[in-house]
Symmetry: C2
Subunit: 137 residues, 2 copies
C-alpha cells in the first residue's frame, strides 16, 4: 500500500512537472490558431441563467470538439452582467465547425433573450501560461 502511494505521489509530481513544462512557457501564438474575445452584456435579471448556459456549452464543446482548445469566461464583480469570454480554436475550420454543432445552436437559441449586446474581437496571443492549480477541482 505504501508502495502504491509512493508510486502515486511520483506520478503526480511527474504530471505536475510535465504540465508546468508544457503550459507555463510563453511561446508565440501558433499561426493557425484562432484566438477570440467576446464582450457580452447580459440582461441583469437573467445573469444566473446565462452563466449556466455558457458553462454547459463550454463543457460540451471542450469534451466533444477536438478543435476547441480553450474557453475561459468571467463576469465583472461590480457589474455581473458584463461577461468576457476568451476562446482559442485550433484553426478557423474548427471555429466554423463549432458554430454548426447542436450544442452551440442550442446555446444561441436559449440565450438570445438574455444577451443585450455582443462584441466579437479577433486578438493575437501575446503571452499565456497556466498551472494545474489555476482551475480548481
Amino acid at each position: 500500500m505504501r508502495k502504491i502511494n509512493s508510486i502515486r505521489a511520483s506520478v503526480k509530481v511527474a504530471v505536475t512537472i510535465l504540465l508546468i513544462m508544457t503550459m507555463s512557457n510563453a511561446i508565440a501564438q501558433n499561426k493557425k490558431q484562432m484566438v477570440r474575445m467576446a464582450l457580452i452584456e447580459i440582461d441583469p435579471g437573467q445573469v444566473d441563467k446565462y452563466k449556466a448556459a455558457v458553462k454547459e456549452v463550454g463543457e460540451t464543446s471542450l469534451r466533444t470538439e477536438p478543435g476547441v482548445l480553450m474557453l475561459y469566461s468571467v463576469a465583472d464583480k461590480l457589474k455581473p452582467n458584463q461577461v468576457t469570454v476568451m476562446e482559442i480554436y485550433a484553426d478557423s475550420a474548427a471555429y466554423e465547425a463549432h458554430r454548426q454543432t447542436a450544442h452551440f445552436k442550442k446555446y444561441k437559441e436559449v440565450t438570445k433573450g438574455m444577451v443585450k449586446s455582443l462584441q466579437l474581437l479577433d486578438v493575437d496571443l501575446i503571452f499565456a501560461g497556466i498551472k494545474p492549480d489555476a482551475i480548481p477541482r
Copy 2:
C-alpha cells in the same frame, strides 16, 4: 525503437487524458482565488516593446511565484495597442506578494512611459477549460 515509440505514444495519450480530466472540467471558482482582468491602452508607437516587457514579467512570475496560477494576455488585431490581461492568483496574499517582486517593479518602471491607461477589474470565473494544445510549443 518501435517499442519506445509505442510507449511514448501511450504516455502522450495518458498525459493528454489526465490533462483534459483535470483541466477541462467546469467547476466553480476556488473562493480564495483572486481573478483579475486588466484593460491596458498602450502608446501605439511602443506596442512591440510593451509586448516584450509583458512577456518577460509573465514568464518570470509563473516560474518563480507559486501563487501566480495563470497569466493570459492578448492584443486586439484591429487595434494592437488595446491589450487585455487575464490573471489568476492563489489568493490575495499571492497577489500582494507579486506586486512586491523585483520583476514586477521592473515591469512597472520599464512600461510606465508606454501605458496610456490601465483599468483593473475584479472578476468571477464562470467557466474555464484548457487543453494542452492551446499553448503551442
